[in-house]
Subunit: 221 residues, 2 copies
């Protein structure tokens, strides 16, 4: 039975990684659609949300099955509960990718406000955070999870910088207000992707350390 | 044993309601601090975050205990898993209240940009959504949960209206840019409170209906 459970857990981890891959790719493609002004790609991101939602439900059902089939010890229960919460975070990352894709479609008819440099940089960091937080879960690597928490500050700083810059553009030129505003939305969507990765990393540290470091015990300043 | 489990579940529900009460009150007080320009109250909201974080950890541990002590059926497992996810949403609502309180402290030194009418209205709706989503969980009231989903659109519309209005102010008067920007942040924090309430309501419908209506099966348009 013990071995049986290990097999179920392994499968659950693999599925969560696949779900993470889909969510991360959705963010990546939505930003590619922005940079290349590719409306078709943006529409593809919107359509592919269904696959992520479908996978979320499958993982939730797997979690219920694992708990129904096995009487787990506290350490394994914490892991499975974390999978359930992380699953929800990944689905919401997919939602943010859809929001970005919708912004891309909305600004398609305006000339480009400015070269896109900081937004793709911000996205790259956020995508790496998502991937690393999941790798930290699967490999039980607390240090990797902690590095995700640290990067959240970089993302917040980039968002503030992008906002200040775009507001300056808007003050100087009323015709760029609408597309600038969409770019601000995208920066905020990316910040939320990084927030979800941070939530995942906190759950990983909680599970790996077997203690709750989500509040207080960890110096994030 | 069955009865024993019912008792544990009852306690878990009560704790989650208390946690929800704390989160909702934090949002309420942060907005009261805004309207009354009360920095002391804003600081209190920041300090009281600890209590919410503490309660989140206690509820998580209760969830682990319930699962460790009882071999639950699928329907009860889904409920307990939903409690774990909802607990995380409530903690993040507390985070948003802290963000609002910090914005209040930041704009304290600027004259008021405009009368606060839409922001408190937006907050009232978001707070009601949080309370109703939890009441829907405890009473198993699907209709109430669905009404929470519907109100999310009202909140999004209010946020868009507030943003447009503040951007107009900013275009006309460069001296109000900084406080206006903080008010935009607050509108976005409130939108996220409503998003968390929506997540909770979706979990409630999933649990109550015993089927996954989080994606597709429910018409939210």
């Amino acid at each position: 039975l013990e071995r049986h459970f290990e097999g179920h857990l392994e499968k659950l981890k693999m599925r969560l990684l696949r779900m993470g891959g889909l969510a991360e790719q959705a963010v990546h493609l939505s930003m590619k659609a922005l940079v290349e002004a590719d409306g078709t790609l943006a529409e593809r991101v919107v359509q592919e949300e269904d696959a992520i939602n479908q996978m979320q439900m499958e993982i939730d059902e797997s979690v219920v099955r694992v708990l129904a089939l096995h009487q787990l010890m506290a350490v394994d229960l914490r892991f499975v509960l974390a999978v359930s919460r992380i699953n929800a975070d990944l689905e919401r990352i997919g939602d943010q990718a859809v929001n970005i894709a919708e912004s891309v479609l909305r600004i398609a008819k305006y000339p480009q406000v400015k070269p896109y440099i900081d937004l793709p940089r911000m996205s790259q960091i956020a995508e790496d955070m998502v991937r690393d937080s999941l790798n930290a879960l699967v490999s039980g690597d607390q240090e990797l999870a902690r590095s995700v928490l640290q990067r959240d500050d970089t993302v917040d700083a980039l968002r503030d910088q992008i906002l200040r810059e775009l507001l300056t553009y808007m003050m100087g030129n009323a015709t760029v207000v609408i597309p600038s505003f969409q770019l601000i939305s995208i920066a905020q969507n990316l910040e939320r992707v990084a927030d979800h990765a941070t939530n995942i990393a906190e759950d990983v540290i909680y599970v790996v350390a077997g203690q709750d470091v989500r509040h207080g015990a960890l110096d994030r300043s």
